[in-house]
Point group: C2
Chain length 289, copies 2
């Protein structure tokens, strides 16, 4: 079955509110006087990481990508649960897992291990508590809002290239990304929509505009870059940076630094207008997995 | 790395309370005025299900085994998150998933899908709220308690054999097990220890006795059987029945039917004494995976 068809079928099984959690976002659940935020990501060898990469980095990333989903919801992490298929480099995985749990101050709550002869498959569930209600979603962008980016993009691309092709660039932005948890919590009360940039800025902006039924007019030159200027076009389409993309009414007194990279308009011909040109096809905008 | 070594290392990463959730139990987390119970199970093709089995049944079982972990904690299910690797029979999986979600009245909250060329790997996280504090654990059995079983064992064994070798036995106890959620909630206020029997009654009794630092003296003839009497010895060692094993002070007025299958004693030579004989090696007591 086609992945999008499968996700659509899953959404049909879930109610419209919780279905936002399917495939690429977080689920939100009210419980007593608290609101829970839940994320789940799977990673498969050769699909989600190159064989050259240390399993310590993979473990770190598995934690970081889930916490980045919590960051985009302004949630405080409560803990993670690990699903782990035992393999050749378990000690390295444990080392990276421990480093990430310490770095992000999040406890390992439980999990499950399995034996498998196939490619290593890891799964992580992260649980957080919302610090601001309503919990930011990707569907709240309003015409008249500004579009903002907290963090820079392109660092993961440069790191990936250094890792796989050699070179001087720092590999850490790709191998050891840091979720913007503090920033997400600070921003949550001020944003109209927020998500983390995991699959490429342009593709994720497209998704947010689609979810909000608006158009984003983006100024590519305004996007903060962690790569050489010559690589700007690539950086806009590369994922794995985990910056926070958000919208907020212009004039909002934001509590942290963020770059204004565009404006929200009534829905026009395309969800994304890049430097004045309507982008009518999302296929080339980023990385899908 | 050896699976037990890996789990031990994971436990070292977690604190002692939450570490109970690692590998074969549920995690317990206080949040505001509620207490959360979290479980996570992974299933891998050929390891956790035979190729003959329909993916609809696998989906059902993935939900059921996690809800059974919640049942053993007396928890009310709040929802599940799915990790799914796309493969050949996605439509069948969806059908079984939908049937289980309806049967157990639990919402799908979110999840993640991945593409993989290897064996199908599925992961499910179930989230519940505790209905009784303290949440039953496997470590609370006290000398003088009775050992009880709610539900019968052997049905999954008979169903598995019918599925793989043919025959007249009902396959449903193996393919479509039902977690004892209502029973677990009713029992939670009355038990000193509780767990679900997923890997075989004798092995799970051994684990509970070990966790509680006591010995269980078990009367095999008293165990309720869903298999021919000639298969009693096998049924005691077969898993997948998801009955509830618990201990409670003798004389407790239990709210539901349960069979008294033994007694808890001070820790003696072995964790399990079966029909008067100390069992000194857990290797042949059940199914490990």
């Amino acid at each position: 079955m086609n992945e999008l068809d499968f996700i659509a079928a899953l959404r049909a099984l879930a109610n419209s509110e919780s279905a936002r959690g399917l495939a690429d976002d977080a689920a939100v659940l009210k419980l007593g006087n608290e609101t829970l935020v839940l994320t789940k990501d799977m990673m498969v060898e050769s699909v989600h990481w190159p064989r050259e990469q240390s399993l310590a980095d993979v473990a770190w990333k598995l934690v970081a990508v889930n916490l980045s989903d919590l960051a985009a919801k302004g949630a405080e992490p409560l803990g993670v649960l690990l699903g782990y298929s035992l393999g050749a480099n378990d000690a390295a995985f444990l080392k990276g897992l421990e480093a990430a749990l310490i770095a992000f101050d999040v406890p390992l709550l439980g999990g499950d291990t399995v034996k498998s002869d196939g490619p290593s498959t890891f799964s992580l569930t992260a649980l957080g508590r919302a610090t601001h209600i309503p919990v930011p979603s990707r569907s709240g962008a309003q015409p008249g809002d500004g579009v903002f980016l907290c963090g820079a993009i392109g660092g993961a691309m440069m790191g990936f290239e250094a890792l796989t092709q050699g070179g001087d660039a720092d590999t850490a932005p790709f191998t050891r990304p840091a979720p913007l948890l503090v920033q997400g919590r600070a921003l949550a009360p001020h944003v109209s929509a927020m998500m983390d940039v995991s699959d490429g800025l342009l593709l994720d902006a497209w998704r947010m505009a689609e979810a909000s039924s608006v158009s984003f007019s983006l100024d590519s030159a305004a996007v903060p870059l962690a790569a050489p200027e010559t690589r700007r076009a690539d950086a806009l389409r590369w994922g794995d940076d985990y910056a926070l993309l958000f919208t907020a009414p212009d004039g909002t007194d934001l509590p942290i630094d963020a770059a204004r990279i565009g404006a929200v308009a009534q829905r026009g011909a395309a969800p994304v207008i890049l430097d004045g040109t309507a982008v009518s096809d999302s296929d080339k905008l980023g990385y899908r997995h």
